[in-house]
Amino acid sequence: MSLFGNRKQAVPQAETLGDDAIVVSKLRKTFGDFVAVDSIDLTVKRGEIFGFLGPNGSGKTTTIRMLCGVIEPSGGTATVMGYDICKDPEKVRCNIGYMSQKFSLFQDLTVDENLRFYSGLYGLTAEKYAERRAYILKMADLEGRETELTKNLSVGWKQRLALGCATLHEPKLIFLDEPTSGVDPTARRQFWELLYDLANDGVALFVTTHYMDEATHCNRLAFIYRGDIIAAGTPQEVKAGLAKDTILRLDVDDGEGALAALQGNSAVAEAYMQGASLQVNIGHLSADEADLPAVLGSAGFLVHGVERVEPTLEDAFVHLVTEQGGRA
């Protein structure tokens, strides 16, 4: 959270007018009996940073691949930058940028060669390429490193070069599949500043991430779980689902042991580790009614302190997933 604390005001607000970059209706994908994506609906506006969250294997990547026109949906429709993904997948791919978590650059090519390759792939004219190349080298802070092999760049540079390659043809919509995984905090922060700049220029960004601090700074979110979107809205709206619940942070020596001791306790709706401390959702009860120090004390765990905390996005998602699990 601290990473982006001072940038909070700078988050651009999505334009309220203008076309939608992505409109998805009842989109579905099955692989045999397995339902990877189960009739989801979502809309992404131009210039909006849209966070697409969910655990591994929940259908995030499958959704992106359908929206990019790489795989055909089993049902439903989607329009991306005004083109139907089933009828015009080539048009879709010409009008989007894509960056994967692996920063899929060619490691044995230089910075320049990677850029030229993508320029050829997207059919840029020589003048356009020269202009975009200069812009991207500056944007990614890669000036002077044009002839360096990509594999010798640090992860942060690779990541920015990958973003540069994905934006070379000036798409108005970019898909970023976990673009910050494995990147150090400083580089992540720099990277998000680039994303804000793009969004300010009216580029829509469809971002998957599992960093909750990053999710907080998206304009809107959708949380996909087992192929289903179980929550959507602004970060505040998503958290509002937990507003009536009481969340306690317990300072206890053996967090894991205490967590096990709380399983099955009727007062506890949800309990989970967050960092080193034990986080407990006691629903509508008050801290006194639940009296967790006494409960844990009788089980042999000494509680040093209890503090009521505001629900975070992470709390919201744990809550949502627990609800889903209970239903399944």
Binding site: K102, D108, L109, L121, Y122
Partner: protein, 379 residues
Amino acid sequence: MRGSVARITAIASKEFIHISRDWRMIVAVLVLPLTQLLLFAYAISFDVRNIPTVTLDLDRSAASRAFIDAYGHSGFFSMQGGVTDQAGVMQAFDRGTARAAIIVERGYGDDIASGRPGPVSVLIDGSEPNSAQLAQTYALALDQTLGRQAAVSWAAARGLSPPTAGTLQPLVRTWYNPERRSADFLIPGLMVVIIMIVTIQQTSVTLVRERENGTLEQLMESPLTHGELILGKVAPWAILGFVDMVLITAIALVVFGVPLRGDIAVLAIGTLLFIVCSLSLGLVISAVAPTIESANMAGLLVSFLPGFMLSGMAFPLASIPVPLQVISYLFPARYMIEISRGIFLRGTSWGALYPEVLSLAVYAVAALGIATLLNRRRT
């Protein structure tokens, strides 16, 4: 259309950069084929020379020594010295110091002098059937020649007219001067197999590598189509494969003195089509293989086994079992070897070779299509 050409060019030029950055690939493309040509051309020879041989001379007469010397001078047997008894022969065979033994029985000199059959025997180690077969042929031919010489001199010594000379000489001559024939026959076939090995090996890993690196995923999210990707991958290797073929042909002509009797244009067209066929076969492997390792193994298997066994390079295809003959049509080498031998050795005209050229053309288109479809299914 212009965009399509630009995309294919982009892929092809980046492939060239990959190749130029990786010295192992340069070795694999330029050094290995030539080494293979030289190695195989010298190693795969149907001639057997210098069979290590021991002698057991129990007669110890001038005649027996002359008999043994004749073997030594033939060039086929390399004399490893004499042993004193049967056990010595066994020992030499066991140790592998000899694979043939010449045994002259006691009384050989007297028998020859008095016109009786000379008791000699030749023992051959049959654990290498091919060499054994040849050694036996040499020995029989030598014995019959020597026997006839003995008969002639025996008759002459008695003032009788010698028996009419036999027809053994032509048989011996087939093996006596075989080197040139063997190379001429082998090299036009060998070059086809080498090109097949190099091209299949290189392309069999290319798509798998992109898939493992995640770059294929990135490419698929761009306007690039599967067909363009495949063509962009084939183009640089087709050029390099062709350069290889030119180098190998030059070596065949200059170093091995292989004749070039037919139309070189037909050879060039056939070569280009054949290279595209092999590359596509490699891409088919690459499209279905789960890992780089398995792609490598499959590439080795598909290039070496059908290359040597089902191409007609080493064995005439008519002599292999019928099911294998049928399978041999699935690999492009058999068509190309027909073209190669036709052009190099027989000076065959376009009119007689067009079925093979046409087969390669159809094969190339089909294999490219299959590789494209299989790769699309994997993404």
